[in-house]
Structure formats: C-alpha cells, structure tokens
C-alpha cells in the first residue's frame, strides 16, 4: 500500500510537471531581468527581479491593465452566466422529453466546431448599428454564443443524471412545471451549473479574436491587452515583460478555478451520497 502510494505521488508529480512545464518556464522568465532572459535559459532564476511586473503595471498611460482585467471579468461573467439561463429550460425538455434532440441539439452543439470569426463582418454591422461595438456587454453577448454549445451539452447530461423519481414525486404533489423546475431540478443541477460556469468563464476570459475585432478602446479584454505589451518596447517580443503579462492575465481564471474547485469537490461528494 505504501509503495502504491509513493508510485501515485510520483505519477502525480510527473504529470503536474509535464503539463505545467510551459507555465513554470513562463513564471521563471517573468522574474528574470532583460539581460538574464537571453543568457540564462534554465528554470533557475539567478537574480530574481520584480521589474517586469512593475513594467506591466506602469508602462504607459495607454496600457491600463486594470481596465483590461475588468473588461474581461465583466464580459466573461455575462458570457458564462447568460448561456446557463437561456439553455436551462430547453435542456430539461431535451433531456426529459427528447424535444429537439434530432435537429436542434446537433445544430447548436455543432456551432462549437465552427470558426465563428466568419461572422465577424455581419456581427460588426449589427453591433455598430445597435451601439454594442466596443462595449463589455457586446463582447459578453458573443462570448455567450461561444459558450452555448458546451453549456447545453453539459446541462442536458446533468439533467439526465437526476433520478426521475424525484421529479415524479413533486408532480404527484401537484407541483406545476415551472414550480417543479425551480424547486426540484434547479437545486439538483447546481453542481453542473458550477462546472459549466467555470468552463464558460475560462473560455470567455481566454477568447482572443472577437476581443480583437469588436473592441478598440473602451472594452479591450485582457487577452488582447496582453498582446499590446509584447511590442511595448518596439520590434521584437520582450520575453520578460510578455511572460509577466501572461502570468497576470492567467491569475483571475486560476483563482476562480481554485475557489470553485472546493465547491465542486464538495458537490461531488453530495452527488455520491445522493446516488
């Protein structure tokens, strides 16, 4: 048993190191000075410095990392919560009544396979006509479209996993459909909502192309803002600063993932007991 556990630890360490290798290297680079980046490629930082991070936060009046972070947070929130709200009712109908399973379900799920950027021009026209161009709401709405397929898929699966007896019991008690959905199905879906929300938020936070195309000044998200820094000294990529920006940009979704993970693991235990 002891040997088994040591082996497990070894596997964990190996997997964690391999999968996180680029991240570890980036964090190391972020703490290297400009001279060291070109001369010391190892993961060991000889003269750790916070200069790159200071540059990121103070480089110029034009680059405001706080605004980018805020824009991304708002847009990703809208982009992850809205699809859950609009997809929940139909996910129930699809799961319990096979309503729309033949056409609507594959139609929507396959939106995920499309490079949605081909809609850039018509969307741009709609957005500039409705005043959504260069706004966080506008960016959030398109992120909601990006997230809709996975949201629908995960919710349909989650509702199928709920024992139907619970719903039937509520029906016998005379609860009408809306009441039953709100009182019985919704609470049981909470773990799925959390998973879907986390995935959706991360996807929304990390989206680049729509952020580039649909914003110019007011609603620039973090991914696009990060690319501003890469060229901030002109010409080539300044690896140290670029690495620091990437670290800062990845922190919020990482924190969210960590906090939500606690809830996730909690709900998983609840799920096991329930079954």
């Amino acid at each position: 048993m002891k040997l088994h556990n040591s082996l497990r630890w070894l596997v964990f360490l190996l997997a964690a190191f391999a999968m996180n290798f680029p991240v570890i290297a980036t964090v190391a680079t972020a703490f290297k000075g400009p001279g060291e980046v070109t001369k010391n490629p190892s993961l060991w930082v000889q003269a750790p410095t916070l200069d790159n991070f200071i540059t990121v936060f103070t480089v110029s009046d034009r680059l405001n990392i706080f605004a980018y972070l805020w824009n991304s947070a708002v847009a990703a929130m809208i982009g992850s919560i809205l699809p859950i709200i609009v997809a929940f009712p139909i996910a129930w109908a699809m799961s319990r009544r096979s309503y729309g399973r033949a056409v609507m379900f594959p139609l929507i799920v396959n939106i995920r396979a499309l490079p949605l950027i081909i809609f850039a021009i018509p969307l741009y026209m709609v957005y500039s006509a409705t005043g959504l161009l260069d706004t966080r709401v506008g960016l959030g709405l398109i992120l909601a479209i990006v997230n809709l397929p996975l949201t629908l898929m995960l919710l349909v699966n989650a509702i199928s996993d709920i024992p139907i007896e619970l719903e039937e019991a509520a029906r016998v008690d005379g609860a009408r459909l809306p009441r039953m959905l709100m009182r019985v199905v919704l609470p049981l879906c909470r773990p799925a909502f959390v998973t879907t929300f986390v995935f959706g938020f991360i996807t929304g936070w990390n989206e680049f192309l729509f952020g580039l195309m649909l914003t110019t000044r007011e609603a620039v998200p973090m991914t696009v803002g990060a690319s501003f820094f890469f060229a901030s000294s002109g010409g080539g990529v300044q690896w140290g600063v670029a690495a620091a920006v990437m670290v800062v940009a990845a922190l919020p979704p990482l924190l969210l993932g960590l906090i939500m993970y606690r809830r996730l693991s909690g709900s998983m235990v609840a799920g096991a007991v329930k079954g």
């Binding site: 070109t38 936060f57 103070t58 034009r62 405001n64 706080f66 605004a67 805020w70 708002v74 850039a120 021009i121 741009y124 026209m125 500039s128 005043g131 959504l132 161009l133 260069d134 706004t135 966080r136 709401v137 192309l209 580039l212 195309m213 110019t216 000044r217 007011e218 696009v224 690319s227 501003f228 890469f230 060229a231 901030s232 000294s233 002109g234 010409g235 080539g236 990529v237």
Partner: protein, 436 residues
C-alpha cells in the same frame, strides 16, 4: 494611478449599459502600436496639437490597437465602414487592398523635397497618393566583426574556408569583407561558421534564415532572388516568378538549411526568434530588418551592418513604407487632411526622426538630423541606391501574393514538395492573384 484606475473601473461599471463612449469631434489617428513608431507619432502629435491655428475640433487624438492581427482587424473595420478613426495606418504591401476604403491625400509642397520620389512612391496606388510616408523598412546584413577579423587573420582558417566553399558551392572562394560579399560569399561564410559543416566553428550556426510560413519572411528573402534578376511579372504583365533567379535563391537557401548552416527550427522562425538566435552569440551573420539594429548591437557589440549581399544583377534591398491615410468613412476628412498635409512637411519629418521614428528622408533632409540620427543617413542611402519594390508589389492582392509565396516556398524548404511543383503552384496562384 491605481486608485484612479479603480475609480475609472467603478464609473465604467455604472455606465455599463449606457453604450459606447466615443470621443467625438477630433481627428482620431490609428497608428502602428508599440515601439519607436508610436513614440515618434506621439511626439509629432503633441507639436501639432500645441499649434494655435489648429482648432479644438481638429486636434489629433491617437488610437492604438494590437500588433497581433492588426491588419485583419483593420480589414474588418474598413470593410464595415467604421468611423472609430479618421486616419489609419497603411503599408506599401497592403495599399492596394485598402485603397478602396480610403481617400487620396494632398501632400504639402515640401513633401517632394523632404522624402524624394522613391519614398513617396511607396504610398501610391493607381497613380494616386494614398498616404503620407512615416517609416521606411529595409534590410541590413548583420555580421560579427570579431569573427570576420579573426578569420581574415588566420591562414589555416582561410584554407578550410576555401575547402568548404569548394565542396558545397563548387568554387574555392576566399574569405572577404562583408562589404564585398555576393550571395555566394554569404553562403560560404554561413557554411564555414556552422558546426555541422566545420566542427571547429566558434559559432553553432553561420546564419539564421527566417523560414516560417509568414508573409514578412518573404520580404526578407526577396533581396536574394532580386539580385539574380527576379521579378514578379514583366512589363507586359506576365508572371515571371518561375525563373532561374528565384530557383537559384530558393535552392541556395535550402542547401544552407539542409547543411545545418541555419537552425533546423528556422522553419518556424520569424523576427523575434531570429534576433534571439543572433543575440545569443551563436550566429555569425544574417539578413534582418533595419529595425533590429539597436537590439542586435546591444546584445552583440561587435555587430557590423551593411546592405544585403550582391548578385549578378547588383545589390538590392526590399523596401516598404508605413504611412498614414484618410479613412473614406471618416466624418472629419477636412481635419484629417490638414493634419496629414502638415505631417508631410519638413517640420514634422524632422521631429518624427528626432523622436526615434525611421522616416525615409531624402539625403538633403537627412543631413539636417545627421547628428541625432546617423543611421537614417545610412538607411536613406541604401534605400535610394539599392531599394526596390517588385513589379506588382503594390497591387490589390500583393498581400495575398506574399502569403502564397510563404506557403509554397516554406513547403519547398521543409522538403514537403520539390522545386518544380513549388514553381508550378506559385505561378498558378500569382497568375490568379495578379489577374484582377
């Protein structure tokens, strides 16, 4: 600054549903983000806005987006009729693509004297001036003086050099100073300084060729076939890419790649990677954009620069310009025109140069800033003596042609297709793209 940001973020949250807040009644200029171009544009804008005769509604406001995907975004903005900016960036290779969405500009009377015809031409399409030139890009040969000097002083090394040249190039070339190099000398030097060919070489690679499937890499490559007489098409409009000149240059580059004279990963190298390689001290010489001069000389202080090597047809460097022109959908074309007219004059050009920009100045004008910017004199010299734009290089589909070449040529270098197929494919693509 932080508190201010929070306040701004809070206010923005309140205004969340209020729609976009675009600053109106100014001339908004979309510039090339980051680097000396941005700093220089900021400096001249401050001068312009400080002038008493410039009315409040014609003051210039600068807008910068991302370099990553800049021209893709610009394409969408212009096509959809964006009014987010009145003046926008254009480049020689994309002028034909964006001209339909832009209005010709009227230059100041000094412009001809300040920039000279060669440079003004980089901003012309269909005989009309669509932009005021701001920065000029061309290529330098960067080489390590210390290595060349050591080689020239060592007879045993010279013999070895000649042996290597005989073996790979069929001719016992002698080492020369980079000012006298032809592309064959460049190749011999690259081979001599590569450890895969010459295990005693002080550097791992003799050169680094940027071979990533990327249109800008084609521009760097073009000086090579051009010096063998290459062109995209002849004066009658026939596509002439399938020529001895292109074939020779492509094969020489591949020979160097296969011999290990450039890193095997150069198949994925662009500007940043190539500079990092040279900066590490493991590369003896390379052809790179003039913009890299400061970075490379800081990393390797013994770096020398010259124009790219010569060929049977002479010495050449690919040139292209960045410039600013008027967005057709702009609602303040008058103010935009006024700013651009001023920008094309001597006052602005000199200020732009002093603030770190790289304008292509006629020698008389360059002389006025020679004390501050000696490099501009050199670049201006090279541009007027060796500069070229391929026949068709400003056509509507020029960008597409560079893209197609990038795909086909990198395929040949990586060994996924032979030279005849490459030539057949690129001739077909270019015939299609130049037809329109």
């Amino acid at each position: 600054m932080r508190v201010q940001s929070y306040l701004r973020a809070g206010a923005a949250a309140l205004a969340l549903l209020a729609g976009p807040t675009i600053l109106q009644a100014e001339v908004t200029v979309l510039g090339w983000p980051g680097g000396p171009e941005e700093a220089a544009l900021r400096a001249v804008t401050d001068i312009y806005n400080g002038k008493a005769e410039v009315a409040a509604e014609n003051k210039v406001d600068l807008l910068f987006t991302s370099r990553e995907g800049f021209f893709d975004k610009l394409q969408v903005d212009l096509a959809a009729g964006s009014t987010a900016f009145d003046v926008n960036l254009i480049a020689t290779y994309s002028i034909g693509k964006y001209a339909p969405f832009m209005e010709p500009v009227i230059l100041s009377e000094e412009a001809k004297k300040v920039f000279g015809d060669t440079v003004l031409k980089t901003m012309q399409y269909d005989g009309q001036q669509f932009g005021v030139p701001t920065d000029l890009s061309l290529h330098f040969l960067y080489y390590r003086k210390d290595l060349i000097d050591a080689l020239m002083a060592d007879d045993a090394a010279k013999t070895k050099y000649a042996e290597i040249a005989q073996k790979y190039l069929g001719e016992a070339l002698q080492p020369k100073m980079p000012e006298d190099w032809t592309w064959r000398d460049f190749a011999a030097n690259a081979l001599y300084f590569s450890q895969s060919v010459n295990p005693d070489s002080p550097t791992r690679y003799g050169t680094v060729i940027q071979m990533k499937n990327l249109l800008f890499n084609m521009m760097v490559f073009h000086s090579w076939p051009r010096s063998y007489g290459a062109n995209w098409m002849d004066d009658a409009g026939n596509v002439t890419v399938d020529s001895e000149a292109f074939r020779t240059a492509l094969e020489m580059a591949k020979m160097l790649y296969d011999a290990g004279a450039t890193p095997a990963d150069s198949a994925s190298y662009e500007y940043a990677e190539a500079n990092a390689a040279f900066s590490s001290g493991q590369v003896a010489a390379m052809v790179q954009w003039n913009a890299a001069a400061t970075e490379l000389m800081t990393a390797q202080p013994t770096t020398g620069t010259f124009a790219p090597p010569a060929g049977p047809d002479g010495r050449f460097t690919h040139i292209h310009g960045l410039g600013l022109g008027i967005n057709k959908a702009s609602d303040n074309k008058e103010g935009a025109g006024a700013f651009l007219a001023w920008l094309s004059g001597e006052e602005a050009a000199l200020a732009y140069a002093k603030a770190g920009g790289a304008p292509g100045l006629a020698s008389e004008t360059a002389a006025k800033v020679a004390a501050d910017r000696p490099d501009l004199v050199q670049a201006g010299d090279y541009a007027s003596n060796y500069g070229f734009v391929m026949n068709g290089g400003t056509s509507a589909n020029a960008l597409g042609i560079y893209e197609a070449q990038a795909k086909e040529f990198t395929g040949f270098w990586a060994g996924t297709q032979d030279l005849d197929t490459t030539m057949k494919n690129i001739t077909a693509s270019m015939t299609e793209l130049l037809k329109k």
